[in-house]
């Protein structure tokens, strides 16, 4: 889960552009400053790497890992010894 302090966001979109799994998008609700803060996509592959939290210059993002483990999407495959194994 990602918590966003909406009124601290300045809308630089660094978190959206730098997310390694492309899990964030800009929301369509304006905040107090008149910018669109980010939000987690409905379907996302967020693995709680906390990069957005570190790269946010305005301290607006908190990443809280979910308690229950997410089922791994079939897209991500481990390659072991040249053989592609579906996990």
């Amino acid at each position: 889960m990602i918590e966003i302090i909406k009124d601290w966001c300045k809308g630089c979109e660094i978190c959206v552009k730098r997310c390694p799994v492309d899990a964030l998008e800009m929301s369509d609700e304006l905040n107090k400053r008149g910018v669109y803060p980010p939000k987690l996509k409905e379907e996302n592959e967020c693995n709680f790497c906390r990069l957005c939290e570190l790269l946010c210059p305005d301290f607006a993002i908190t990443v809280i890992p979910d308690e229950d483990e997410k089922p791994v999407e079939s897209k991500s495959r481990l390659i072991i010894g040249g053989i592609t194994n579906e996990v």
Binding site: E13, I14, K17, L54, P57
Partner: protein
């Protein structure tokens, strides 16, 4: 990740509660400015070191970067332009138990206060300087800073800069600072480790963070797009190790391609005696000498 490690890592909310003056937020920094990241990285470094914030003193001069101590929940001095290092030397002299951290900018530290910087590094005074280099005097309206690369446009250089730029990290290395590192702000983990090493190190440590300035620098230099400016830092930097390999074994073409790039990495990591350590030794030696003399005289 094991359960133990998971428990040990605090989340950003706890980090903010612990170190940030939340009443001051949102920050005054422009949209896309990297100075906020420097605060965040410093928090993580302090958290990993486990420092007591009552034992931390901050100092800063004038400029965008010098607003940073206002956001950190520790005692700080917001001093005159360029004199942050002089005031920090005073703090350290008055109370050597404090960890002195100086936040300063490129214009503040090397432009206005260049001589203070040179002599603080030469005397190897025990402090950590976090220098945010954005190539411009951002707060006062975008005047040319001594660190601006050749050709960059500023309000005082409308046809492009023709002066050679200051290479702060190489200068500090030559002056014999104990720890010198340079990282762009767009990499999070390396600066955290460098700040951590710098605070733990006795003697002068300089961490130069290359921080993007979209408003005063980027806009005039066709880097107004925040994403383009952040990517610029990755395209125009090269690790010291790679740089040296190419200089020693590379082809002419490769050598030409890295000429304009900024070296990043840890420039220097040594353990030389600092000024206050030596001063303490000197004072103790003189006291002993004096005591012996007094004893000799009374007999």
């Amino acid at each position: 990740m094991s359960e133990e490690v998971k428990k040990k890592m605090i989340d950003a909310n706890e980090l903010r509660d612990k170190y940030l003056r939340e009443g001051m937020l949102p920050t005054i920094f422009c949209n896309g400015c990297g100075h906020g990241n420097a605060i965040d990285y410093t928090f993580w470094a302090i958290e990993e070191l486990g420092l007591d914030m009552d034992k931390v003193a901050l100092a800063s001069g004038i400029g965008c970067s010098s607003r940073i101590p206002g956001y950190i929940n520790a005692d700080g001095l917001h001093t005159t332009h360029g004199r942050a290092l002089a005031f920090a030397t005073g703090i350290k002299a008055a109370n050597p138990d404090l960890h002195v951290i100086v936040f300063t900018g490129d214009g503040d530290c090397t432009g206005i206060g260049g001589n203070h910087f040179i002599h603080a590094a030469r005397r190897n005074i025990d402090m950590t300087v976090i220098l945010l280099n954005n190539f411009i005097y951002g707060m006062t309206g975008g005047q040319l800073a001594p660190t601006a690369p050749i050709g960059s446009i500023a309000t005082t250089a409308p046809y492009g800069n023709i002066e050679q730029a200051f290479n702060i990290s190489e200068l500090a290395k030559a002056l014999g600072a104990n720890y010198v590192a340079r990282w762009p702000i767009s990499y999070p983990y390396q600066p955290i480790k460098s700040i951590k090493d710098g605070i733990a190190k006795k003697g002068f440590s300089l961490i130069e963070l290359m921080s993007p300035c979209p408003t005063a620098y980027g806009r005039r230099n066709r880097l107004g797009n925040i994403e383009a400016l952040w990517n610029w830092y990755e395209e125009n930097t090269i690790l010291i190790e790679d740089y040296e390999k190419i200089i020693n074994y590379g082809t002419e073409e490769e050598k030409n391609s890295i000429k304009e790039k900024f070296k990043i990495g840890v420039f220097q990591d040594v353990d030389k005696p600092g000024f206050f350590g030596e001063y303490e030794k000197l004072v103790n030696m003189l006291i002993e000498k004096d005591d012996a003399k007094l004893k000799g005289g009374s007999q």
